[in-house]
């Protein structure tokens, strides 16, 4: 079945609604959150209508069915990133996952490989989303470790010239994004992984902007932990994936504690179940996990390579058309070489907020502001940008409308 975005768009009920008095919805904000196909919405509803019960806890038929559905979703997610099933943990989203690994490291006692103390070092990059920056700032503050970072070049690439200084013998963890949610830049991992592993550090990958858009294989990627949010991958809100290598998950202390993650409990002590349960305290977000399973199945059926190719093609068209607008400046790589489909730009003196409002009035949804990567936008001297981010349901018509909108805005505010 050849990929056809116009057909794909029909799977997403919201895309047939109208905006601001009858305008067609042109949704270019998938980098913030993606829309959901009917199969995902129904997977969640059907769980409630037919199988809802607390998983892993009841000996009754509903509990069996709920457990099957929930564990089935875990198997789908594992398959999606080519992981072993026990390496896949359901969280509420990437923000929780990143806090999970940072807090869990903070819980590690001396002797544990994740134990951090004064003299140790944490490495991030200047293009991180706040979700992959502040948890590490906090961990550094709690443990006395230092926080250093790889900087970003004016072209929006990671500056690896001082890689061996930034990642040093003291580095215990390197946390970075696979693809910048502002610049679209895809980061080269091999060199970073190699240096990190040479000094005995683990690599935590924020795959929020990559896993929904390209094939991911954790067996070859070379990182140690990885996370992404379901809601950006045509899945439900309130669910995310946290993956870690089995041997690392075995040593990493738990984060949230409570029911279902225990082995034994007394009034003063507790011991832990094995992963993934160790990291899933409480009654899980069952319906959302099941919905995410449906989402990842949907994406797999369409084919992650097809999706990636489609986005690449559209991004190329978009970049070319944007280049023709005189006052417009793309922030980030201007070719599709090692870049994804999030395209940020400035438009002369027109403030992104005003541009966004004008576009919204045409039915075009984009994101404006610092995109939760404030240190990056400040560094690049553009405190706010406008971002169009594409996904499998976007079409050339969407890009045409965007370009028309930008030109219209220039006139309106000019």
């Amino acid at each position: 079945m050849p990929f056809n975005a116009i057909e794909v768009a029909k799977d997403f009920p919201i895309l047939s609604r109208t905006i601001r008095d009858g305008k067609r919805l042109v949704y270019l904000d998938s980098g913030a959150t993606s829309q959901k196909p009917e199969v995902v919405i129904e997977a969640e509803s059907n769980f409630y209508r037919l199988h809802n019960a607390a998983v892993h806890r009841g000996a009754h038929q509903l509990a069996e069915e709920a457990t099957d559905a929930y564990e089935g979703a875990r198997a789908i997610a594992a398959n999606f990133i080519n992981a072993d099933v026990d390496e896949v943990i359901f969280t509420k989203g990437a923000t929780e996952s990143l806090n999970l690994v940072a807090y869990a490291m903070g819980n590690a006692v001396a002797g544990n490989r994740f134990h951090l103390t004064t003299g140790d070092n944490i490495v991030v990059t200047e293009m991180e989303h706040h979700a992959n920056l502040i948890p590490w700032q906090q961990l550094a503050a709690r443990t006395g470790a230092t926080l250093t970072w790889l900087s970003v070049t004016p072209e929006g690439r990671l500056d690896l010239s001082n890689l061996n200084q930034v990642i040093s013998e003291k580095t215990k963890v390197v946390a970075l994004t696979h693809q910048s949610n502002v610049l679209g830049t895809i980061n080269p991992l091999d060199e970073i992984n190699k240096r990190a592993h040479d000094v005995g550090a683990v690599v935590v990958l924020d795959a929020c902007q990559s896993a929904p858009h390209m094939p991911i294989d954790v067996k070859t990627l070379g990182v140690d932990f990885l996370t992404f949010s379901g809601h950006k991958a045509v899945g439900p809100t309130g669910v995310g994936i946290f993956w870690g290598r089995a041997e690392l998950l075995a040593e990493l202390p738990p984060f949230l504690t409570g029911g279902s993650m225990i082995e034994n409990v007394t009034m003063t002590t507790a011991t832990w179940a094995q992963a993934p349960k160790k990291f899933e305290a409480g009654v899980p977000n069952m319906a959302q996990a099941v919905g995410l399973g449906a989402a990842l199945s949907y994406l797999t059926k369409i084919g992650m390579k097809n999706i990636h190719d489609h986005e690449n093609k559209l991004t190329s068209i978009l970049l070319n058309k944007l280049a023709e607008i005189k006052n417009l400046k793309v922030v980030g790589p201007t070719t599709t070489q090692m870049r994804g489909a999030a395209v940020s730009f400035t438009l002369g003196e027109i403030h992104p907020h005003d541009l966004g409002q004008y576009l919204d009035n045409q039915g075009i949804a984009v994101r404006t502001g610092h995109h939760c990567a404030w240190p990056l936008t400040r560094k690049l001297g553009v405190p706010a940008t406008t971002r169009a981010s594409l996904y499998l349901y976007n079409t050339e018509a969407d890009i045409d409308d965007l370009i028309k909108g930008i030109v219209g805005a220039e006139k309106y505010f000019g």
Binding site: D21, H351, H353, Q357, N361, T368, P383, Y412, F413
Partner: protein
């Protein structure tokens, strides 16, 4: 909804030719406010003369709504007593929360009624209020120093 409702001529004028957008050398209080959701920033100086607002000046980056709003505010509040300024601020706040049901008292709010349309765009209300919050903060600080 018509976009022109939001972007009234007066607003675009103030945006293009902002008033009092140059920080005064001296002031009784200086504040720096940020809109964390979009990154807009403003620095605002207030000078009082007894209970009268002698001067307001500012600098900052932001969208047309936030820039126009603080420009209008400066024009409007300079020369007013603090009591009058309070009354005007309260009226403006109420207008912003009116969800498009009010037009604003032109005698009291003057050019600021042009911002009435903002109240229909919830995400923009914070833009319009940025300068007013800064003024409130600064005038309280200036007063407490007297």
């Amino acid at each position: 909804m018509e976009l022109d409702n939001l972007y009234q001529e007066v607003i675009l004028d103030h945006y293009k030719r902002p008033q009092h957008k140059k920080l005064s050398a001296s002031f009784d209080a200086q504040v720096h406010h940020i809109n964390p959701s979009c990154g807009d920033e403003i620095t605002l100086n207030v000078t009082l003369q007894g209970d009268r607002v002698e001067n307001v000046s500012w600098d900052g980056v932001g969208c047309s709504i936030s820039q126009a709003s603080v420009s209008i505010l400066s024009d409007l509040l300079i020369g007013k007593t603090l009591t009058q300024a309070q009354e005007i601020s309260d009226a403006f706040m109420a207008l912003m929360q009116s969800k498009g049901t009010e037009k604003g008292d032109e005698n009291l709010l003057e050019d600021a009624v042009a911002l009435a349309g903002v109240s229909q765009y919830p995400a923009r209300i914070k833009c319009a209020l940025l300068g007013w919050m800064a003024f409130k903060d600064a005038s309280v600080q200036a007063l407490s120093k007297k």
